[in-house]
């Protein structure tokens, strides 16, 4: 599943951040899941639990979902992404590569495909918290 690759990326990056911050144990990873990519949160959580390394053994993965908001660059209109407006093929395509939304979606007001994903694109790590050896 694609969710496994994204979970692998989170585990790897959280470990790198911990290394940079000198953390010996990670206690908390705060993740933002953008609605546009339609990541299956349950599969994603399961993948995280299976992939976590020793440093992440006690870590809590807090997942916050972010609504996808789009803004037209031609007329400035802002609108919310509703996956149910799309057929299955389009939903799946956007799940794998969210940027292909530009092929399938257009501004509901002026019809332009030139829009910006203001929020809720994909997976982001908001913060990594943990303990240093002397703590």
């Amino acid at each position: 599943m694609h969710e496994w690759a994204l979970a692998e990326a989170v585990v790897r990056t959280a470990s790198q951040i911990a290394e940079e911050k000198g953390l010996t144990e990670i206690t908390e990873v705060n993740i933002r899941l953008g609605e546009l990519q339609q990541v299956d949160a349950e599969i994603f959580k399961f993948a995280l639990s299976q992939l976590k390394t020793q440093k992440l053994a006690e870590a809590k993965f807090n997942i916050r979902k972010a609504k996808a908001k789009l803004r037209c660059r031609a007329c400035n209109y802002e609108w919310a992404f509703f996956k149910d407006d799309l057929d299955e093929d389009a939903k799946e395509a956007i799940h794998f590569v969210p940027e292909v939304a530009h092929a399938f979606l257009k501004c509901p007001k002026c019809g332009s495909h030139d829009f910006e994903v203001v929020s809720g694109r994909g997976v982001w790590i908001e913060s990594v918290k943990g303990l240093k050896s002397h703590e």
Binding site: H2, A5, A93, F96, V97, E99, A103, V123
Partner: protein
């Protein structure tokens, strides 16, 4: 805020021996044809090869190789299908036959996504079909795949080379490996391009004569390999890439 995908890219490319970015400063010089036929030639030589079309707004390699109906598989990432003996990845699996109007930041995001989730496995060569220009794609490949070697395509036109020359000079200034330069669609005996390339101590791979029969071979891998274009590229591949 951190983008977790970037950390995965080097892992995904770890088992790829060489990465060749077929590029040019200019459009319409034959990059996609060179990239596609180069990948095909390597596959025919029995080496493990992948072709990654990152010309997201105008992909063409699937048309050149006559690829339709193939789809990647999901297995803890995306596994590209094997077509004509090579692993093939393109945005066409997702955008289908629709136009994908992408600005620079969107291009970068799509590239990072595909680099992070595509599971290439072990390859001798990954050939990247680059979009034209010295902008987002070139800058992203330089940033994300630091060991990429650039194979530059030009035509004999001084108009094309005006930009290609700047592109080569930029790569050299950045100490990026320039594998060589191919002069495509050669119609005269001019040595202008060869002189300019060799003046920069860059390997001139050679000339590909303008092949008026090439167009009718588009979409047919076997026919492509038997064109003058295909034969010239095969000769250059043998002379310039160590295939063991």
């Amino acid at each position: 805020m951190s983008d977790p995908r970037v950390s995965l890219i080097s892992e995904r490319l770890r088992n790829i021996h060489r990465i060749i970015a077929v590029s040019s400063g200019k459009g319409g010089v034959g990059k996609s044809l060179v990239a596609s036929v180069l990948a095909l030639t390597l596959a025919r030589r029995g080496v493990k090869v992948g072709l990654f079309d990152i010309d997201f707004t105008s992909p063409a390699s699937h048309v050149i190789l006559g690829i339709s109906g193939a789809q990647p598989k999901e297995k803890k990432g995306i596994v590209p299908p094997v077509v004509h003996g090579l692993k093939y990845m393109s945005i066409i699996y997702y955008a289908r036959d629709r136009a994908s109007p992408l600005r620079g930041a969107d291009f970068s995001n799509a590239l990072i996504e595909l680099l992070a989730v595509t599971v290439w496995g072990k390859l001798d060569f990954l050939v990247i079909d680059m979009p034209p220009g010295i902008s987002d794609a070139t800058l992203d490949i330089l940033r994300l795949i630091r060991r990429a070697e650039f194979l530059v395509v030009t035509t004999p036109s001084r108009l094309a080379f005006e930009t290609v020359r700047k592109f080569i000079d930029l790569l050299l200034e950045l100490n990026v490996p320039v594998l060589g330069v191919i002069e495509n669609m050669k119609m005269t005996n001019s040595n202008f391009i060869r002189r300019e390339v060799e003046k920069r101590s860059v390997k001139f791979w050679g000339e590909i004569p303008f092949d008026k029969n090439l167009e009718e071979s588009i979409g047919n891998a076997e026919k492509l390999l038997s064109t003058e274009f295909g034969k010239a590229l095969k000769r250059m591949t043998t002379e310039n890439l160590d295939l063991g």
